[in-house]
């Protein structure tokens, strides 16, 4: 099949697959690791008290599949952004800038969660929601801009981010097969 000019120009607005994979790997690493870190706490404090091994593995299966959906959501959002923004802003440097955006966004949420108690809803009291959103957007925007600027000004920092993203690819070989097994496990658990 020959790809026409129109399709080429559409696809050109997206980064190359070699650039997408490291950014996706950064997202997967952070999302999955966070869930496993939190779930390990649940395991020792609660689940291990009354659930059997099969059920606990089942719990992790649902969580990993949830993480997989999140990772797709994250990379799709970044791709959409790269499609909408001028090529020079994001698409051409997707590896470095996409990684910085993914890291700052996910880490901003982590900081918020670690600073609040584990109960999300009462902590985001309705009377505080506007303040909460403004604070979050401010922290994320400032940290992202600072890191993006640092990535451009200091070549070493830019290379460091890219090398981190590259190294995260190893986690794809670990987390994605586990996700596949989790999907199979969930299907089996729900057949009946």
């Amino acid at each position: 099949m020959v790809i026409g000019k129109k399709e080429m120009s559409f696809l050109n607005r997206f980064p190359k697959i070699q650039q997408i994979i490291p950014v996706y790997a950064v997202g997967v690493t952070l999302l999955y690791s966070w869930t496993i870190f939190r779930a390990t706490k649940d395991f020792s404090a609660n689940w291990s008290l009354f659930l059997n091994v099969g059920d606990i593995l089942g719990l992790f299966s649902y969580m990993l599949v949830g993480d997989f959906l999140e990772s797709l959501l994250m990379i799709c959002s970044l791709l959409l952004l790269s499609f909408l923004l001028p090529r020079n802003l994001l698409t051409n440097k997707f590896n470095k800038r996409g990684s910085i955006l993914a890291i700052t966004f996910l880490c901003s949420i982590m900081v918020f969660y670690l600073r609040s108690s584990e109960y999300l809803f009462p902590n985001m009291g309705i009377e505080n929601i506007n303040w909460w959103i403004v604070t979050f957007v401010f922290i994320f925007t400032v940290s992202a801009l600072v890191l993006l600027a640092a990535g451009e000004s200091f070549q070493m920092f830019g290379k460091f981010v890219e090398s981190i993203a590259d190294r995260c690819i190893i986690f794809l070989y670990f987390y994605l097969p586990l996700t596949f097994l989790s999907i199979v496990a969930i299907i089996f658990r729900n057949i009946g």
Binding site: T35, R38, F50, L59, M63, G66, E70, F121, P122
Partner: protein
């Protein structure tokens, strides 16, 4: 002539066999019996409703004028106890008729021991009844989910909500316990980064759109789940459901486990105003070392909110009963009002997620409106949640399984036994299927109460408290060292230790 079904046959047998007994207790039941009709049952469990804050049971704030009015023609149990101090063990004992150390639903969000999941009120009532259940409490919903094969209609948690999620909960019916535990942690407890973030923003934004001007603390809600509802909407939903079953599914057994008055306490303004500045001064008790360390000012503020919430709920219960009465439902329905555990505003402890087992945490209401009963009947004998299952089975003409650990309630076939012992426990940090080594137990016999703390370290590694509830209902004077109480203290201690040892035997 149509075919006689098993259900018709059992109705006939029940009509013949139990007519005499119940007619003696409640003369008005003759109407019910003449139609050979099995009675309906409605259990209304109000989560975290302590008997100590109800004016029905002598609380000086007028929190329950409607329950007092209803009590004029009801059975009122004054010394009724939950078998646990929070939802999971309290609800499980009520539904299974088993003590927590038997059913083993002792951990937060825990479930009933799988081999015993058949041992429940829905199963024992069987197909002769249309069995319906509903709860707003997530942890109680785990339990109902576990029993769902014995329930004909299990309503979703968010059935009567203004805003509520429910679609995800319903998506994994064949693996609901595991799926829902996972989804709960992912979305509501921030085990996921993005899903919880997006969901919380979405629901907070939704909630913001609902006017809640007459609710000074916001609309009633779950404690960490994105449900919002009004008490009016909730009770209207319950009323409609009962009327629907009355016309389409009688005889029915309905279990409604509502979240109020559980924290967050969110009464309407008019009810909060009732007690906000009424000058009430609760008895100040010394802070307990195992408490949450809440200040007295904070406890008093919470108490004010809670009492207002109780009055608000009481008004809605009053309306519910009036409607059911008007529609004739109560002519053939046992209406049972109770709770799964109490609530504390003393000793530095707010709420109920605690190892403490003082009266405020475990003494709960039990009021039964029985068909045909026109006068108030007070019962001061010790009773507990596990008595409800065998009592209902008896009224429904069913056999009581020998494995049941409760007794028939006095005035409903049971006898007043002054020597009876009640045992309540908390072991939320103890593995469910291992011997009990970190737990609190309370044994109540007559007017005496023994509390035993086990495995909490320090002075509470192996520690007893002993109270005379008649002379010291506030449990302020520990009598275990008093010489004139040594005999009864030793006897009760021995009884409790023997019972714990027996419970531990199969896990050691």
């Amino acid at each position: 002539m149509g075919k006689i079904t098993r259900r018709d046959f059992l109705r006939l047998v029940w009509g013949l066999s139990s007519t005499t007994i119940l007619a003696k207790i409640f003369p008005g039941t003759s109407k019910l019996k003449s139609e050979n009709q099995l009675p309906n049952f409605i259990i209304l469990v109000c989560d975290a409703m302590t008997a100590r804050n109800l004016s029905l049971y002598g609380y000086s704030r007028k929190t329950t004028p409607n329950l007092e009015r209803l009590a004029e023609r009801a059975l009122v149990y004054h010394r009724h106890y939950s078998n646990g101090n929070y939802t999971t063990p309290g609800t499980s004992s009520l539904l299974t008729g088993l003590r927590p150390w038997t059913h083993r639903a002792i951990n937060g969000s825990g479930i009933i021991k799988r081999q015993l999941s058949f041992h429940n009120i829905f199963h024992f009532l069987g197909k002769d009844y249309f069995r319906m259940a509903y709860t707003q409490n997530y942890w109680a919903d785990y339990l109902l989910d576990q029993l769902s094969s014995d329930i004909d209609s299990l309503l979703p948690l968010a059935s009567f909500d203004v805003i509520g999620q429910g679609a995800i909960d319903q998506a994994f019916r064949n693996d609901s316990v595991v799926a829902r535990h996972s989804i709960e942690r992912m979305i509501y407890f921030s085990n996921s980064l993005l899903l919880s973030f997006i969901t919380s923003l979405y629901y907070q934004n939704q909630v913001k759109r609902i006017p809640a001007n007459d609710h000074p603390f916001g609309l009633p809600s779950g404690n960490y789940f994105p449900h919002r509802y009004t008490l009016e909407g909730l009770f209207e939903g319950i009323t409609n459901k009962v009327l629907e079953m009355e016309t389409e599914a009688a005889p029915f057994f309905a279990y409604f486990h509502i979240f109020p008055p559980h924290w967050p306490y969110r009464p309407r303004q008019e009810f909060f105003d009732l007690f906000y500045q009424d000058g009430y001064r609760p008895v100040v008790k010394p802070e307990h070392r195992l408490s949450h360390d809440s200040s007295q000012a904070k406890l008093n503020a919470y108490r004010n909110q809670y009492d207002g919430y109780l009055a608000n709920i009481d008004a809605e219960i009053g309306k519910l009963i009036a409607t059911l009465e008007k529609q004739g439902v109560l002519d053939h329905t046992y209406f049972i009002i109770t709770s799964d555990h109490g609530e504390s505003f003393e000793r530095g402890m707010s709420g109920h997620f605690t190892p403490l087992l003082y009266e405020t945490l475990i003494r709960i209401p039990l009021i039964i409106i029985a068909p045909g009963n026109q006068s108030r009947k007070d019962c001061f004998t010790l009773t507990n949640s596990i008595d409800i299952l065998p009592t209902i089975l008896t009224i429904a003409g069913k056999e009581i399984p020998s494995s049941c650990e409760g007794s028939l309630l006095p005035r409903l076939g049971g006898s007043d036994d002054p020597k009876r012992s009640i045992i309540t426990m908390d072991a939320k940090e103890n593995p469910a299927f291992k011997p009990l080594k970190r737990a609190t137990f309370a044994l109540i016999r007559g007017n005496y109460k023994l509390i035993y703390y086990l495995g909490y370290g320090g002075m509470y590694q192996d520690y007893y408290e002993f109270y005379n509830l008649e002379e010291d209902p506030e449990e302020l004077q520990d009598l275990k060292s008093m010489t004139n109480y040594q005999t009864v203290f030793s006897e009760m201690k021995q009884e409790l230790l023997t019972a714990i040892e027996a419970a531990n035997q199969q896990y050691s």
